[in-house]
Symmetry: C5
């Protein structure tokens, strides 16, 4: 089977476990902020989008350093500050001071292995969620998105730019779009909606891979397939583990006891909530498909063995008596009358032929030998 | 095994996933209504049935376009507007304006992959449910039915005409029928009752298929059967997934906190509720049957192998010593006294016969060989 | 294996599913009463038992037709009207009018596939339960018992006479018996207690069958046993499915929010409740036994195969070298010195014997061959 | 495998089921008390221990018959009446009258197959629990202990003397012991604590048996081991089924809504409660051990088969060509030049040796043959 | 496989069970304190750390005996008394009297097999938790930590020094550290946080072992691997069993109904709580990995057997006809014309070669023989 490639799911899992461990160690001495993720190539980039209801009330600013950051003062009704890259801890601390974020919130933003959760602080809601994707090995990888929702602002923190929210930025430019017309709460809804859509895409991709695997298994078994079944099972489990707390987060937002969301936006959140429920059901359905696939694999394995055993048995049964007959007439007794017969040899050959064909026909009729098993 | 046909359950599942994905993408920009299902052949058709308690108070109107639709004004106590085909988004929007339906309701009507749910809006209840059927491959397929219940009207939205509600239309013509005498709430009960009956029919069909499969397996194993077991398992899972939220929907309606249902109708809803509970139990029972079938399949597979192994072993044990004896007397030693004996050959043949029959009899007595295994 | 007899559990299940389907169809047009069970041979028979506390206050009346029924007027404190056979819908309707039963109650009485439930109506409680039995194929079959409990009367409806309640009728004749002394509520307790006792009897029978099956499996495997395991598993599932709602029914009666039961009787109901809990535990215990039996069956199957494989391997290992030796000395080379030796033949025979016995002894010592595997 | 001994767990289970059935039948006519357990050899024995706080306030009385029993009048603060053997129903009835026990309590005392429960009656609490032990076949057997706790007295009812409570009797003689100093409620705590300790002992024994079984399986497989695995699994299930209601009982006592326990004793009950939780966890841990053992057993079975198959394959591969060569040179063609060669025989022998050793070495190197598989 | 080493998980489990049993026996006579753990080498050592907010307010005292202990009187705001080694029961009793600890608390401190729990007593909270580690056999072992939290003091009790809390002691020396600035409640948070971090470390180690095992299995199967799978499964179960009550403990502390924690500290406890939730999820993820590993192991076992069976069948099919042909021409009939042919021998050899190569090629083409199976 050649060299074994380390199972990437496990590898991913360990990466995450290690990061958590690192994060947890860092957390033992609160007050010292430290980023636990992988170092990205590009520098930290903050994008500030300010907008009001009027056509002219729209402004985008970008800054990458502390100095630039010091100056930002939003001019219009609502603004959205997005941060790509979390290495620049000092910039983050500045933002933390400016918006009076609790030290634990800053820690959670940097500790990028959080479960999705929502926490209420005075003056703002802190939401973490995970953006999923399939990497080149068809493995689930996920990135943490932290969202802070205040009365008239939204802060988002990502490890690296993924382009998921580009569409929303475009919509914001459009004065007629609902996201522009409604407030900060609707913007958060739009962001979460995008996040949930990513799950649909990932699930669709995974479903395709599983279909391909099913076709492959039906063409012929290979031990690698069993490994893939296990890998997909783990991927689905990982998705499920991510979706359950996400559903809970959206459920909490929808009930919105802290009154950050307008009634209208709450209706939209209910819609996203329905989507997460649907996603969980789809994950369950795929898990059943995977489970059935494993059962099929094992049954096919067993059936292959049956076919081979059958062939072996049939061959042994046919050739054993023929070989015995040949052996008998190969004995060297002096008095073996058949050996002297004129057509003894031919008679024995005929006997063998009859016996062989007879037994073969018998098994053919009983379907112990059939063309199907020679595919 | 020849060419593998793609497992249709998976195919169906992916179709649904894709539609959901499409719907979810469409939903990202609320306000733009878009139908996500398959385009039907026939055009959108709206049927309006108005009726009162009097014999003469019954009127049926059909219209297919926006212009015709503009005119409808119900004259009698209660009316039921049914819409087949959802492509004509403009007609739907007109209806939405006329009955003050929330944009999200219109979206949900068009996004035909909803889970069964009930949502209360000011002035009306919005109910979605799914109408199940078995397609030609014995696969579960389902169609969304959206129901809007107001104080004196019922709106229903279907993708295509299925004839399920024809019987109710007939009953409505009959002044003596309960559905005619009672109000709009009873009509909704009647519709849901019909929907639930469809589940009974589908379950009955599936039960028959499973019985046939069981008979087949007992006649002889074939790898295709394992695939069918998996397919039925998934179908039952799909039914179960559809029934649970449906039960919840009916439970909510029965408690009826918004007072849309009369006390008498609530008793009837409790009856439908009992039916869904019974359906869920039947699904569970069939799932156990399927599960036992899989166990039987694997045990039979194993038992077949045992029988073959037994046969192989018996043949080997019987023929090995006989062949050895023949081999011994086929040796070319100069001094082998038995070879010179007058009846040596016959003695050896007799020895072989005794040995062979003895061993065969031994195994027959121990039931290692029996007629049963040659079936 | 001969002709396959259709698995009776499935058959039974389908019968029930069909009846439910039929019942559910009938239910679509409420108001039309229709009996969905099998037509019984004997006609409908109503038995009226009236009793008071006094010795003389006891009267039994039987009537089979509408005309006779019209006349019954109870004279003493409490009366119990029992109906065997449900074909005579008109008699039932008469009773319904007399006791002001809701049409849905009459429907449920006729639709004999109900789950156990209790429903409160003004002036009476409606209880359905199921009377279980094992049929001649050791399959669970069950019959619906409907009980209506009013302040001073009890109505019971059965499909056919089963003799289960005979003992209670006898006790009623006895002025000293508690059932005579206490009121209608105690009579209902006594009926339910009898019903629950039937479950104990059925479980005991099933336990015996499972023990016999266990003995059989330990004597020798047969594919039929696997089918029996599956059948028992389904029977136990069926019992469990019946017991859970029955427990719930008794629990509701025991809490008795509608005050139909005296405090004293409630204590007795708690006793019956404890019995149902015990029954559920016994069913669980038997399910574990069955589950272990299946594991044992599969392990034994595997172990048999191991034993055969072992025997085959041992025989092959012993005879292969012997046959090779015989083959070698059967070669026709001109210069084979051993062939000329005076005792070459005997030497080779001795060599073979030593080799054969040596290998055999080796395997015996390693327990690859042992008497145990030849049982 | 010789004669099959009936699986004792099943046997025990049926015994219990039968007793329950009997008890349940007896219960149909309340008022008639009847003992359903096995008849013990020794007669009923009542022991009365009266005690106060003072050194002199301690008195033990024993009586075996109704007449003796009539006289007992406790003289000190608290007394504990213990009854061994339940055949003497009349004595029990006397006690029942004396302490105003409800008939259902007397029934439950005699019906010795109760689940652990606690029931509150006016003036006393009725508690049933089960005392577990392992019998000589390592099977769980259990005996019912009924406890009645009044304000200043404790009644206990056992089927036969087990010596479990001897230590408590000794402690009672000691004026300094807490059980002597505190009241009747503390005595009940002490009794329950002893009962729970018995579970620890039984679990420890079972754990040892499972360890031994594990060692045995690692030394060599035997079908009997699979049966033992099943037996232990059932024993653990039985323990679990007993512990859950016991935990509930102690939980109810600890909350003590009827104020039978002092605050201090409640703290001790919390301690016993913690013990039951720990016991349930230990049972779960052992169940996982057993479950893993079964998986190991099956994997080892499969691995044994693999080893045998490997050996068989290797032997067949090595000997098939050798035998063919011998067969070829045993052919009787007139023109076979090799046969005339001077060293043809030796050349062929050498060829065979090279081939045999070469193939053997090949498989040895590939580890198809290794010493490990010959253990 | 040589001598079997007793499975250490079981051994550990039994050790724990025995200690619990011992503890439980000891508990039967409350008032007598007795340590149930293993006797440690070093003597009991009490360390008292007193600290205030000022730089100078920090004092560490150590004492090992009763006499030294009598004198301790804390001088600064907060103090932390840590006890290593629990053999010196008299010292413990002294502490108990000094801080008015309930006798049951002292018992629980000594009975070192408690489940994590938190109990509220007047004036203090009693918390037990377990410190986990992997021993040299990669087995989970755990040590009990008892924590008593008063208004201004913390008492901790450990069986032996583990160095886990050294970092906290260092932080306490630092006037700037949060743990020094905040009160006793924050110290308890810091201790629990350290405990939870240990779980991350253990999980990370276990994850590595499982990865190594996965690599090993993919290189070649060995029965020992199945045992390791079972061992890891049990280890994960043990971790899970420890984490669930720990999560509950932290949850209770976080809600803090007794007001021992400041609001700020409660936020930090929520953080630890999130960590335990994450840990439980990681345990679940690893359990799925282990479960998939077992499935893979069994599938690989089956696939190996398939490969061997395939090889055996191919060899038998190829050599059977060849051997038969050799046997036929080894027969001694007088009239066998082929034997006289000039090139008969060569023709037969050629026939055999054609047949052998043909069959071999056939199977090669069908992939019954392939290089892959000879790895």
């Amino acid at each position: 089977m050649g060299k074994h490639r380390r199972d990437p799911v496990t590898a991913h899992h360990r990466r995450r476990l290690k990061a958590t461990l690192k994060a947890s160690k860092a957390g033992a001495a609160p007050g010292t902020l430290q980023y636990v993720g992988q170092q990205a190539a590009q520098p930290t980039l903050a994008t500030l989008i300010e907008y009001g209801r009027q056509d002219s009330e729209f402004l985008t600013t970008q800054f990458t350093s502390l100095e630039q950051g010091r100056e930002f003062k939003p001019t219009y009704d609502t603004f959205w500050l997005n941060l790509h890259g979390l290495e620049d801890v000092s910039l983050l601390q500045l933002i933390g001071q400016r918006f009076r974020l609790h030290p634990l919130v800053l820690e959670d933003i940097l500790n990028t292995q959080q479960r999705p959760k929502v926490e209420q602080y005075p003056g703002y809601l802190y939401i973490t969620a995970r953006m999923v994707a399939l990497d080149e090995d068809d493995l689930i990888c996920s990135e943490q998105i932290s969202i802070v929702l205040g009365r008239d602002f939204v802060l988002t923190f990502q490890e690296k730019p993924t382009g998921t929210f580009t569409a929303i930025r475009e919509l914001l430019r459009n004065t007629e779009s609902q996201v522009r017309k409604f407030g900060a709460d609707y913007l958060v809804y739009a962001l979460l909606d995008k996040l949930v859509d990513r799950y649909f895409a990932v699930l669709e991709q995974l479903g395709e891979r599983i279909d391909e695997l099913e076709d492959e298994i039906n063409e012929g078994l290979h031990p690698r397939q069993m490994q893939e079944i296990q890998q997909h099972r783990r991927s689905l489990q990982a998705l499920k583990r991510g979706l359950w707390p996400l559903r809970e987060v959206i459920n909490i937002l929808q009930r919105d006891e802290a009154d950050f969301f307008h009634d209208e936006t709450q209706l939209y959140l209910r819609d996203v909530y329905d989507h997460t429920v649907q996603l969980i059901e789809s994950v369950e359905a795929l898990r059943e498909v995977i489970s059935g696939l494993q059962d099929s694999y094992l049954a096919l394995q067993s059936q292959q063995m049956n076919a081979q055993m059958r062939t072996l048995t049939v061959f042994t049964i046919i050739f054993s008596p023929l070989t015995l007959i040949a052996g008998i007439y190969g004995m060297n007794f002096e008095y073996m009358p058949e050996l002297k017969w004129r057509y003894g040899y031919w008679a024995v050959l005929a006997l063998m032929a009859v016996l062989g064909i007879g037994l073969g026909g018998f098994f053919w009729a009983r379907r112990w030998i059939s063309r199907e098993y020679f595919r």
